[in-house]
Chain length 167, copies 2
């Protein structure tokens, strides 16, 4: 017994979906993923995969990969709807949590890796120097610039937890 509802969005929600999609796209994430989150963020009740695919006019395959992506970020969660075999999804509304988690999972590891990369580069620089591949000035110049960068990194590392508290 399939419900054959209107399956279209009011303009407010439609525009919101579009905005969310573009935002994601700008950050290098798949547009459809952002659209899905946008759709769910303003959905008063959980939606099934088919709902999502139909409302966004995307394939069920896209909807599936998108939702799994969002689940892995804990940006949405699965909801069991009694009497319906299908999975339903709803957005996690607390964006603050979401940001914190995103920082922990994405930025922090990346920052840390970039710090060790810098350390490696400094070692590398000394090796090049010993191998006679750099002039005295070149060595001094690079060392100074790398140090500058390094100090910026540590400042950022200190800033982000503070920022998180502030928000």
């Amino acid at each position: 017994m399939a419900e054959t509802l209107s399956k279209s969005l009011p303009s407010s929600r439609r525009e919101f979906v579009e905005t969310a999609g573009r935002l994601c796209q700008r950050f290098g994430l798949p547009r459809s993923t952002g659209q899905i989150y946008g759709l769910l963020y303003l959905a008063p009740s959980p939606l099934s995969l088919d709902d999502i695919a139909e409302l966004l006019s995307i394939s069920k395959a896209s909807a599936s990969t998108g939702t799994r992506q969002l689940l892995s970020w804990h940006a949405i969660k699965q909801i069991w709807v009694p009497g319906d075999r299908r999975d339903h999804f709803e957005a996690v509304g607390d964006l603050h949590d979401l940001l914190r988690a995103g920082y922990e999972k994405f930025f922090r590891p990346k920052l840390e890796r970039s710090v060790s990369k810098m350390d490696h580069l400094l070692v590398c620089l000394e090796a090049d120097r010993k191998a006679g591949l750099l002039t005295k000035e070149e060595h001094a110049f690079c060392k100074e610039r790398l140090a500058h960068l390094r100090s910026l990194q540590t400042r950022v590392q200190k800033l982000l937890p503070l920022a998180e508290k502030f928000l």
Copy 2:
């Protein structure tokens, strides 16, 4: 009288170029642009377009568009080298300035536009409501979520100038 120098980089600088390229790429900017900045950031003396193209093994066309991009962001500047007709480029070392400028030029306008977008959406929501396109609950739910988002936006707007000062 063309100088036929070795035209290759020590491993420290080569790795730095690679890292800078990947960083840019991650933020949706052309990789080559990041590579150019990385190359110049560790260059003790200004480089010509041809130097850049050769050292990075990219076409002169790419080097040209990349440098113009970076110039527009004030991330590099043109240097006049006496006795050489060609343009030479050097990186602006002060990343702090660069970040501030990037915020002013990129993030701030985008944030502001997103704020007015939200206001528009709230208007839109009321219109949908009056047109009878939304149930009472749907309207209330959306309004609450949009308000939540809106408040997050203003908090971010307040945070960023502070963060800038902190760095």
